[in-house]
Amino acid sequence: MNHLTAEEIAAIADGEVAGSEHLRECAACANAVLGELRMKRAVREAAPRYEVPATLVKRLQPRRSAFDWLLPIAAALAIVVGGGLVLRWRAGAPAGEGGGAAPSFELVDMHTTLLASSNAVDVVSTDRHTVKPWFEGRVPFAVPVPELAPPFRLIGGRVVYWRQQPGAYLMIAKGAHRISLFIFRDDMRPTQIRNVASEVWTANGLTFVALADVSQEDLRALREAFSAGR
């Protein structure tokens, strides 16, 4: 068995390539990808982030007519920044900050991590009458688990934490593909999701985030199954 090279492991973690069949059968390489994802996440946490200072926006204001377009954002930024330089270390920002919009990369990381895991779900069952009650007492809301019709098939679920909030995670199969469905209380929504197909919706005070390496139509069909099946 040929193990993945360091370059290949990085390329998978960085989303440069889709993945590798090898990961399904090799725990060492799957672990290496996980390690790389953790490192990326740690770097994002630790990396310095800066907000554009109002003084810069002001300097880009129209001494030239070509910069007329910067005026509206100058006004907007002046309100946000409030004058002066604002330097913010990302890790120092309080959780859940930003009007309920929370970074989506954490969900994408969880999705990737769980797909690579050999025991991704704590309750393994295709039966919604097993999975739904399992969540009772584990998450602070009733988890809707509808009867899924083919091509979708329930695999199981587990509790996940996102921004210090417990949520339900359902793993759903469509053929050989795996779909991650995260369900949280409605007070948090992810920012724009990149690098993976996604469908985000809210219903009955809950936010649903579906991530998968499948088509957008498939995710929409899944969303309809959840909307119809309650």
Binding site: A10, R38, M39, V43, A46, R59, I73
Partner: protein
């Protein structure tokens, strides 16, 4: 698309990149202002359909390199492939669960990385740029992006071990 429509969303990431390069707030402002001016002037020569973001990053970086602190910056680094020994991932995920004080150490380690490694790492991990975009922005081959990235992560692993 006009220059304005394309450039406006890049103001914040470009400023952040300028801060990573200069680590000086005032200089970063100058850099971004000059980048926007150069971008606007040169926009006629920008080929539509090619990568505008990488193009703007490249203008900013070239502007930085010809600035006084850019010239001072030591950019000659050892790219000898023989030095990339032992890049295999030898740590288990468990050992990489970061505690709070590790975040501080990691932050310091990122700051300590030589600029060519730091910028590749941050562009890929924080700005989520593809290897190809980074290569285009920095005018280096994709293979160099990969090797710098792996070496940067290796240094960080050692720093937080």
């Amino acid at each position: 698309m006009t220059f304005e429509e394309l450039a406006l969303p890049l103001l914040s990431p470009l400023y952040t990149y300028a801060r990573w390069l200069t680590s000086d707030a005032q200089e970063a402002e100058d850099l971004v202002q000059e980048t926007f001016l150069k971008g606007l002037r040169g926009f006629a020569s920008f080929a539509p359909g090619t990568n505008f973001r990488a193009w703007m990053y490249r203008i900013l970086r070239n502007t930085f390199l010809t600035s006084r602190s850019g010239l001072r910056m030591q950019l000659s680094i050892d790219e000898d492939p023989g030095r990339f020994e032992d890049l295999s991932v030898d740590s288990t995920p468990e050992s990489e669960l970061l505690a709070r004080h590790d975040v501080e150490r990691l932050r310091a380690a990122i700051q300590d990385l030589p600029l060519p490694f730091r910028e590749v790492l941050l562009l890929v991990d924080v700005e989520e740029m593809s290897y190809r975009d980074v290569a285009e922005a920095l005018s280096i081959p994709v293979g160099t992006v990969t090797s710098r990235l792996l070496r940067a992560r290796k240094k960080l692993r050692e720093a937080i071990r």
